[in-house]
Structures are given as structure tokens and as C-alpha cells.
Symmetry: C2
């Protein structure tokens, strides 16, 4: 986390911590920083040694807490049947008493012979209220021992089940979208947040409109807000984009919402600039 910050010193002005610069101007005394070992003048003064020592203690305590939590996560991870199958070279998966199948792929075409993904009823029920309702009551899925899931690829379904076991997933943008859809459908909030964070980290002007539409469709509020503010920073270029024209045809309501958000933002900024206008 320590960056070679002394290149920055001149370039970025450091935040004002309320030290009165005029007052400090006079003294040109130097002190040695116990962390970077360089001399600093009073205008660059940070903390006294005791505050530094306490901050270091705090950092150590936080790191210990992180180690404990990581150990807890490892303990709580559930054996993934596929992992186990792999690790133990077994022919039957580990305590699986139900299978999930991708009945239709993303294109909506029904898959003739879908590869089943083995899972455990109690595990599914403990991770998703939708699965719980399905499996506690004598629904078709519970009786047949097969849960059909539509509009998903085998890869996405497998990743979904693995996440339910381990809280781990290897994401790219496509997989993050597929898993967000499943997380939304089966109310696995932890996974939904995880995918949303990933997609937000990948946002740029090029993909902001598609992400805006996608977020709208799947109630991904954080992703929606992030995409929207990115779009509003580029309103002049908006109407020229291909995706814009498509969105106007496909779902003009969403385009209206962009303009409404933009306008109310402009009004707010105006009010802040000129509070009199408020009255």
C-alpha cells in the first residue's frame, strides 16, 4: 500500500489538516519522519510519535482480524461436489442429492441433453430463499430431484453452484452478467453485490449505455447509478452513439429517465451555485 510518494510531493497539494500556513511559514525547523526516514518541515508535519505508534498498533490489530476472518471463511466454505469429485477421483459426487440442469441456453434454445450439475439440497436451501421454498415444500423439483434453469449456459450454472458452495467465482464481464441474473432470480444477494462491484469496476463510456440498460432490467441499483452518472458526464456525445438509437427504439422510457436525471442534476447545481434562486 506504501507508494513511492516523494515524486508526488511537489505535484499533488496535500489536504489541509487545519495547520495555519502563515504561522508555520516562519519556522524552518526540520524533523525526521520515523516512517520514510526523510526530513520534513512543519508545513509537512504529520503526527507525533505516540499517534504514529498507536496507528501502527491499530494497523496490526486490523491485520490480525483479517487473518481470523479469512480462516473463518475457509472453515465455512462447503465442499463443492465438483471440487471433491476432482480431488478424490470419485465417480459419484460428494453428498449430492439433487441436480441442476440448464434446460435452455442463453439464446432460449432448449438443450436436448443438458449436463446435470450435482448439488446438495440443504446447501441450496441455506443459500437461497427461492431454493428453500422450492425444496422445503413438495414441489416438482423436490420430488423429481431435478431443478431446471432456463436461459443459462452450463458454464454459468456450474459457476453459480460453485459460488453457493465456496463464495468464490472467477469473473469476466460476461460471467458477471450471467451470475448477476441468476443471483437476482434466486435472491442470492451476496453474489449479486459481488457481480455488481465487478461490473462497476469495468465501467467506461463505451459500455455505460448497455450496462445502464442491463442494470435497469435486473434492479442493480448501484450499477445503474454508476452507469448513469458516467452517461451524464458525456451528454454531448450521447445521441451520436449506436447504442443510444437502439435504446430509443427498444426502451425509450429508459432514455427519458436519463434526460430527467440530467435535468434535475442541472437544477440542483444551479441552486447550489446561486442559493438566492432557491427562494
Amino acid at each position: 500500500m506504501r507508494r513511492g510518494h516523494h515524486r508526488r510531493r511537489s505535484s499533488t497539494p496535500s489536504v489541509d489538516f487545519g495547520v495555519d500556513d502563515e504561522e508555520e511559514e516562519e519556522s524552518e525547523a526540520q524533523m525526521k519522519c520515523v516512517s520514510c526516514k526523510e526530513d520534513y518541515s512543519s508545513r509537512d508535519a504529520g503526527t507525533c510519535r505516540e499517534c504514529y505508534e498507536e496507528a501502527s498498533e491499530t494497523e496490526e490489530e486490523l491485520k490480525r482480524e483479517i487473518e481470523d476472518l479469512k480462516a473463518k471463511v475457509n472453515f465455512l466454505r462447503f465442499w463443492s461436489p465438483s471440487q471433491h469429485l476432482h480431488q478424490q477421483q470419485r465417480t459419484t459426487p460428494f453428498f449430492s442429492d439433487i441436480v441442476l440442469v440448464a434446460s435452455h441456453d442463453e439464446s432460449g434454445k432448449s438443450t436436448p441433453h443438458p449436463v446435470p450439475v450435482p448439488a446438495n439440497r440443504a446447501l441450496l436451501a441455506s443459500r437461497s430463499p427461492v431454493f428453500r421454498a422450492m425444496l422445503e415444500n413438495e414441489m416438482e423439483e423436490s420430488l423429481s430431484g431435478t431443478i431446471k434453469i432456463s436461459d443459462v449456459s452450463y458454464e454459468a450454472l456450474r459457476a453459480f453452484v460453485t459460488y453457493l458452495y465456496t463464495a468464490d467465482a472467477c469473473l469476466d464481464e460476461l460471467m458477471a452478467c450471467d451470475l448477476l441474473v441468476l443471483a437476482e432470480k434466486y435472491q442470492v444477494n451476496h453474489l449479486k453485490t459481488y457481480c455488481e462491484k465487478f461490473l462497476i469496476s469495468k465501467l467506461n463510456w463505451e459500455n455505460s449505455l448497455p450496462n445502464y440498460g442491463f442494470a435497469h432490467q435486473h434492479n442493480a441499483k448501484k450499477l445503474l447509478d454508476a452507469a448513469l452518472s458516467l452517461i451524464m458526464e458525456n451528454m454531448d456525445k450521447l445521441s451520436k452513439r449506436e447504442e443510444y438509437k437502439e435504446l430509443v427504439d427498444k426502451d425509450p422510457r429508459l432514455v427519458v429517465e436519463i434526460y430527467e436525471a440530467y435535468l434535475s442534476k442541472q437544477v440542483n447545481t444551479a441552486v447550489q451555485k446561486d442559493p438566492v434562486a432557491k427562494a
Copy 2:
């Protein structure tokens, strides 16, 4: 984590970070600490402002990581049948397909009508290699659907199963000992470490000998070392203790190990004090 440290300032000498005191003596310049807002002289100098800002960033990053890990732990916690029973006012526990019973209490007396603790096979197998071996292969327990556990109270057994589901336990010293024994028997290392840490935090001169014996019996290495070093700090009082006489009768070998450890410690200290003696 910030303690009111200015009472401490005079009392506790701060660690030497290699600042040359003679050199600093001359300048009596003061700087203002951005953290505690008090003036400090160069002999109390801590960090420059940039190191302070970077340390603060680091602290924020660590805190965010802790939040993420806590959310992950909550997601990975498994529904405890009893929790669920309680929460949902149901008569049959949640996806339980096996029961554990305390066949004999701590005193070794067989319990005529033990109350069964419901659990889930996959969960038990994923938390303990001993349960896994039991339940994967067609052992008596797997076929009968009942796992008999001896020398344990119903309360301890229930707490043990709850820990396997949630990685949480409410400990006192007795419960920590009971759970450590079960964790040792069923190879649940995470729980064993958890109980060991708790017992170490409760160590004092009064309970050091019983803890030493207990740790020895159950291969609790960390607890053993902690208890042993506490005992070695009080060797003069050792032989007067009631527990000492009991231990000499019950297991003199353990007493011998105390004296051996004490002697080798004395020899090491002597060598450190007088390196010539080494040669």
C-alpha cells in the same frame, strides 16, 4: 483503538526509532500533530504528512476488507437446524438427515434417554474428516442415521453442532474445554484453535497447572506453552500448590517435563548472559 495516550506520555518511554537524541536536543522547534492536534518537539516526532495520509488510506482499505470478509462469513454460515427450528416454529428440523446423541455424560455414566441433536450429513462431512470417513463409507453410524458421542454433555454436543454450522460459540472455560476435546476428537482444527485462544486469554497462576495437564492430554500445543511459561515464572511457589501434589501422584512425567523445561531455560539465559561459557 485510540487510547487517551497523553496521560501515558510521561510515564511510558516511547520505543527508539533511531532518531539521534543528542542531535535533536539542540532544536526546540514544535510542530502540531495532525492526529491529536497537540504540539510536539523533534524528540517526539512521528511521521511526515504524506506518510500519515498513506497510513490513513491503508487503515481505510483494511477496514473495507474486514467488512467484505464479514459479509462473506455471513453468507457462508449454514442454517443451524435448531436456529431454523426456532425461527420458523417448525416441528421438523431443517434438512436434517442424521442425529447426534450424547451416549455417555462427562462422568462416563450412560444416559438412558439422550436428547438427539439433529444435523445434516453433508454439513458434518464437510466440516470434519472424521465424520466424512464415517458417513461416506457404510459404517454403522451412516446406516443407522445416529452418531453416538460419549463423555459429553447435551449442552456441549449442541454447541459443537452449532459451531459446525455457524463457526460461532458462546464460551466459558468449561465449554471451551468440552469443545476443544470434541474438536480434537473429530479434527475440527478451526474450533480447536478458537478454544485454545480463549483458554490462553483466561490463563492465570491459579489455573496454570490444570490447564497444563489438560493441554498435554489433548495436544493443545499453544495452550501448553502458555501455561508452561506461566508456571516457570513461579517455580518458587510451584511445589506448595495442591494441584502440584495431585499431578505428581497422577502423572509425574508431566512434572518432570516442567523441571526439564525450567532447567534448559536457565542454561539458555546463562549462555546469553555470558557467551564465553558457550565455547
